[in-house]
Subunit: 376 residues, 2 copies
């Protein structure tokens, strides 16, 4: 129940068990072209998709170094570790990050974002971390940013690393120019492949203004794909086999069904864990449907709690990140998560709390969750 | 018989067939620490090792962005695709590349390199591509560069992407500050992990002068490893399992035995393929022991030749790279290659040539190879 890497279905793991192929051959085209096409389906875009052999951070950095030039003004909401990092990358690229800062656990409102656009009519791009994995918050107005970026045709970039495939993204319809994720989150594939999608307008800009970087040089990836459906550098072949299989599973379930399952399971986790006495870290209007961050009860020590939970009940969750270490713990609700995972997690957490001397009502937790799960 | 990705032993492929783990856990430390320690053994260094989740190009770029600053003078021999790319990366980082250019297939001599040092007493670093995979050349004086870099304590960086593990590298003894490779070459692991080793002096410099990059930010990797033996970003976990197993195989065989095997097999390939009428592309004093590039015979068409070879005899070799496309073909002699691979490759190539109407003497090729293989 980690917020990534998530459980990988056996079918996906097994897909890696193949002899090595030549990445400059038709064997590779047969593998990579479907990866690209399925990625575009999931991102709902007619644009280009590149499956980078890197972690999600690599794909996020690619979005920055290919688009942000010296002196460019970039508006970015910041309220946690990952949005802070993204703002840092924008500055490293020579950009001027216009931060819309809110406290951790609380999202910038759309009005605050609009105000930043009002004050910066010369903005070059809007970047946002859709799901702030470090605090369990999620922006819920991605479909309304286009009105702002269309004022001066600024670029719109969505870091969807921990959420694409678990929540609705309509890249083309919402006017998103660039978006990316990591395979080890809601796609339930192993880590190491991070797809990045690029719309036609951003693609043209990148080709006309190529970046001073090699490994994350997207124009180079576009060129190789157009010429031969290859990648410019040797890709992580076993992970592409796994990714391809994971995308099949997503499309077999149906993307909308998958998203409904994620929403239902997180609603059940919020209800159930609240009913046993825990409180979510994020404010209600900012809460994520794929990462649930919860405050530690007074006196509840991070390591002891998580070690008991994993040692006695084999349920793995994550601690806090950065300065929230020891203050919150985080439950992932991504990928393969279903009724069984929700019930078992609530049961294991309440049992662990009971073992550690806390007064909890497991029945209330399980009942509250079950009510929500009736939608599944 | 590709110059990467090379054949992966079944034991290594099987190592990926494990359930997903948490990369912020003791499970990860148990996996990653041995990867790091074995890497240091193979590079023969007491310095730091970082196993990057990226292709070899990623590790090469990491060596540049962490060391080369605006205005830095860098001496680099250039005679092929990969050394050209490296010089480009040095310039993108703001460095001034002092190219020692020779024609493809011919190495810069040590005297030419010395002259560059004589003319540039303010040089900041010497970078070299040890094995130029695009042309089948290999530098053979890496042990004598220290005399030059020690003049003003400039850094010494070896791009060993296609050769480490197949030829002798004495990183500490030879005064190499930074070296890297890709797992899919002589290590016979799948592509996607690229180890980079950094000596104490370069490490200190990198920490004191951190780069403006996230994914390839080596000081960040050093810090995470020192604090928790973790990596800053989610690593390609299945590939680390494979890498760890591949390193075990190397150490079981013994690094020196492995290198001897590579040398013997390439000597046999050069002898055997020459005996059937082919000529190596690289000049004799510059030839690589891990990639054998051969000139196409007049009228021999690249695609037809390689398709016949792979279609009828299931032997996969590579075509030419960049402007050598159609002019040369390349046989890898890396990783698992042994007596069987050498004999079968010579037999398949001479049979393909015969099928295509060329007059060859297969017996002469096999005999010449066998003579060399008696060392094994």
């Amino acid at each position: 129940m980690l917020p990534g890497p998530t459980n990988v279905p056996e079918r996906v793991t097994r897909a890696m068990y193949v002899p090595m192929i030549n990445h400059r051959s038709d064997d590779f085209v047969e593998l990579y072209e479907p990866c690209v096409e399925k990625t575009k389906q999931v991102f709902r875009t007619e644009g280009d998709a590149v499956c980078l052999s890197a972690s999600g951070t690599g794909a996020v950095e690619a979005s920055v170094v290919n688009l942000v030039k010296k002196g460019d003004k970039v508006i970015i909401p910041v309220n946690g570790e990952f949005s802070g990092r993204l703002a840092q990358m924008i500055e490293w690229a020579g950009g001027q990050a216009v931060r819309v800062t809110t406290e951790p656990g609380v999202n910038a409102t759309l009005d605050q974002v609009r105000e930043a656009f009002d004050n910066n009519p010369d903005v070059k791009a809007f970047y946002c971390v859709w799901n702030e994995t470090s605090t369990g918050t999620m922006l819920n107005y991605l479909d309304r940013i286009k009105d702002l970026t269309s004022r001066n045709d600024s670029f719109y970039v969505v870091d969807g690393v921990s959420i694409v495939g678990g929540e609705t993204l309509e890249m083309d319809k919402w006017g998103v120019d660039v978006a990316m994720t990591g395979a080890q989150k809601a796609f339930a594939a192993p880590p190491g492949i991070s797809p990045i999608c690029v719309g036609a307008r951003a693609k043209k800009y990148m080709i006309d203004n190529p970046p001073s970087t090699m490994y994350f040089n997207l124009p180079r990836y576009f060129k190789y794909y157009e010429e031969s459906k290859h990648t410019p550098f040797t890709p992580s072949l076993p992970l592409l086999y796994a990714y391809n299989e994971a995308m099949d599973i997503i499309l077999e379930e149906g993307l909308d069904n998958r998203i409904r399952r994620h929403r239902t399971c997180s609603a059940a986790l919020y209800s159930g864990l609240s009913a046993i006495g825990l409180t979510p870290f994020a404010r209600e209007d900012s809460r994520s449907t794929v990462v649930i961050a919860l405050n530690y009860l007074p006196g509840l020590e991070d390591r002891t709690f998580r070690n008991t939970l994993s040692g006695k009940f084999r349920v793995l969750i994550a601690g806090g990140f950065g300065h929230l270490k020891g203050k919150v713990f985080r439950v992932g609700c991504m990928g393969e998560v279903g009724r069984y995972h929700v019930m078992r997690t609530i049961s294991a957490i309440s049992s662990t709390l009971a073992l550690m001397g806390y007064d909890t009502d497991p029945q209330a937790g399980l009942k509250a969750a079950e009510q929500r799960l009736s939608d599944l």
